[in-house]
């Protein structure tokens, strides 16, 4: 294998693993014939090592792991909520500044946009707004798997994140602030009608499904590998 490719592949592993096995593993990779299959094997193994590190090689994570054990309610319940709130604040700031910069005459920022620059800017805000619950949920799952935490608090965190994501609604208007800058805010309700409530709950279920999907795939892969 090409030494440069071998170097890059070794870099995929976590630092404690690299410090212990990096030199000899790189030497092995350079003797391996073929490129694609061994490379795919190394990429997959590095990913597994990042998700479930070899016990005893988690030097850098001891402090973090102890937090997960001592304050699981804070790590999996409160922290993700604050993180999600922070991501939404950033998303709303992007939408609000885009509204001021690119659509000064519009009553709402949610209008069709054709300019490429404006399209990119608004979609950055929208992607952050819609993607934040899923990204935070994946973060919860990853931390829980890496630290081998019990399922209760991570599940509570995932459900809370999904409910927040499902019930959040962006309100934008210029009319409430006459000749003002316009107003963007978020509202968390399950709706004023049965249809709105069911729509919010369905949205929450979709977010929850997407956040637990990687964990389900990981468990299936693990079950398959043990049965092979």
């Amino acid at each position: 294998m090409n030494p440069r490719l071998a170097h890059l592949l070794v870099r995929l592993y976590p630092r404690p693993w690299r410090e212990r096995y990096g030199v000899e593993f790189k030497a092995l990779l350079q003797t391996v014939r073929g490129g694609l299959r061994p490379s795919a094997n190394v990429v997959w193994s590095a990913l597994c090592e990042r998700i479930v590190p070899t016990p005893g090689l988690k030097i850098e994570q001891r402090q973090f792991q102890s937090w997960c054990v001592r304050w699981p309610w804070a790590m999996f319940g409160l922290a993700p909520l604050f993180l999600l709130a922070g991501a939404w604040v950033v998303a709303l700031l992007i939408l609000w500044s885009g509204w001021r910069l690119f659509l000064p005459g519009a009553d709402t920022p949610f209008v069709p946009i054709y300019d490429m620059r404006e399209f990119f800017y608004f979609n950055l805000g929208r992607s952050l707004y819609f993607g934040a619950p899923i990204l935070v949920g994946w973060g919860i799952g990853l931390i829980a798997i890496r630290n081998r935490c019990k399922a209760f608090w991570p599940t509570v965190g995932l459900v809370l994140i999904a409910l927040m994501g499902g019930t959040a609604q962006v309100q934008a208007s210029r009319t409430t602030v006459p000749r003002g800058l316009g107003h963007i805010s978020m509202d968390f309700t399950l709706g004023h009608s049965v249809q709105d409530t069911s729509h919010g709950l369905l949205h929450a279920v979709v977010i929850l499904s997407l956040t637990v999907l990687p964990w389900v795939i990981w468990r299936l892969q693990r079950a398959l590998s043990l049965s092979t």
Binding site: W17, R20, Y21, V23, E24, F25, K26, A27, L28, L29, T31, V32, R37, P38, A40, N41, V42, V43, W44, S45, A46, C48, E49, T54, P55, G56, L57, Q221, R222, L224, S225, L226, T228
Partner: protein, 113 residues
């Protein structure tokens, strides 16, 4: 244990069933003397026709070392050989005995067909 799905099978063995339990294969390979990674891959290939991928091999080595079933020896240039420990020998013996029992029972059932 580490995934056993990332095992690269040989072309000449295609279609045959390969045994793929990387930790056990590594222990079995080290049972007749210390070896470094490349030598282990070749030895396992000769032993049962299974070619372990490099990531799979080192995943197994890392876990076996942390369990104290193999020990690293001083490096030879950049390659580091490993040897099996007494505890590793005990585990290997126990697992092979279980496998022998399982194989015997399975073959007896097949003969009865």
């Amino acid at each position: 244990m580490r995934s056993t799905r990332n095992v690269v099978k040989t072309e000449e063995g295609a279609g045959l069933v390969h045994y793929s339990d990387p930790p056990l294969l590594v222990l079995a390979s080290l049972a007749n003397g210390p070896k470094h990674g490349h030598a282990m891959i070749e030895d396992i290939m000769r032993l049962c026709g299974t070619r372990l991928g490099p990531g799979t091999l080192y995943g197994a080595i890392a876990r076996l070392e942390q369990q104290g079933w193999i020990k690293p020896l001083p490096p030879e240039e950049r390659r580091r050989p490993y040897r099996i420990t007494a505890e590793g020998v005990r585990v290997l013996r126990a697992r092979l005995a279980t496998l022998r029992q399982f194989t015997k029972a399975g073959l007896e059932r097949l003969e009865a067909l």
